[in-house]
Subunit: 202 residues, 2 copies
């Protein structure tokens, strides 16, 4: 329900802030309802009808706002990605700044494994598009891991080592580990830590 983002200094008519407020309110209601339903029953079973009903908002508004069910899911994923990014870039240690680089790298992997598992369906969809795997959306994670490797004084080809580490967080791989091999997230976190320690030479 935050109002006024980006509006400072722009000429606005009397009616615009009111419409924006309504739209923002509906958006917030719809996203909150979608999150609540997904938490309760998992993303796969939640329909657009469910979301509109739970939010007390017309289905037409829901579709106008998000385009499709996939559009709604992408907005939810994007919001969660931003929250996670803030946590590892600006949040408290050991995930955020203040802890030694290797400690942050280990915390990042364990945190991200949980995120990937919680968002595995949407992330696996994105995975089928190679541009999603190696370009814009993945770049921040790549930059973060590479920065921590460099800060830890890691020797060798840092780009290759970054790719190598991130392959353990691939949504399809994480799902395969859990569903086909029975390796839970703690065990996968240990594997991440083992590889991170080895690359950082500790």
């Amino acid at each position: 329900m935050s109002v006024g983002d980006g509006l400072i200094g722009l000429p606005v008519t009397d009616s615009v802030p009111v419409e924006r407020g309504d739209a923002a309110r509906n958006r917030a209601l719809l996203l909150a309802a979608a999150r609540r339903l997904i938490d309760e029953r998992g993303a796969n079973t939640v329909t657009m009808d469910d979301v509109a009903t739970a939010a007390g908002v017309g289905k037409g508004t829901l579709f106008r706002r998000f385009g499709s069910r996939a559009g709604l899911m992408i907005v939810l994923l994007d919001e969660d990605e931003k929250t996670e990014q803030r946590a590892f870039m600006f949040g408290p240690p050991p995930l955020g700044p203040g802890a030694p680089p290797l400690t942050r790298l280990i915390a990042y992997g364990r945190h991200r494994l949980r995120f990937v598992w919680d968002h595995r369906v949407l992330l696996a969809d994105a995975n089928t598009d190679p541009h999603m795997r190696f370009n814009a959306p993945a770049t921040l994670h790549r930059t973060h891991v590479r920065m921590l490797l460099a800060a830890a004084g890691t020797t060798g080809d840092l780009d290759a080592q970054t790719q190598a580490l991130l392959s353990l967080l691939d949504a399809d791989y994480v799902t395969h580990q859990v569903e086909d091999l029975g390796h839970d997230l703690d065990r996968q976190g240990d594997a991440w830590e083992s590889l991170a320690r080895k690359l950082c030479g500790s």
Copy 2:
């Protein structure tokens, strides 16, 4: 045109070996023609009409034999995969047995990079199916890399290190490196060697 594979001890009529010979001859002609055309112009521009014409075989025979263009391409990939597998399992060193494990691992990566680049279109297709990425077709490569890491006395989580190494041979990643970043196969081979040496502690 090998005849008799699996036929020993089985009762056959007089006509069967002749039909088998014809079928085998057509198959060999079609595959040889497809390979020649792909070598000349790249896989993307070769049509089923081209293959049938070049082989001097009816188009109906081509479709009956391989089902579809995709089916033909999969047979070609499969044949090449088997040739490569024989080379790293039974061929001369440094790829095959006889060289030290790390030397073999380095040779495998450089060899496989070239294979992946040459077959990138088909492999990228297979990549969109997570079962293709982590199950049967990929298992032999996974087993081979893990075996060499173990033979080299590598410490830590060998499964994670195997996944990490193999991520550098992912068809989408290799293509991204070449086409978006301008990193040729030699440079990628150096990155593979750098990571392999680090994991093996050399």
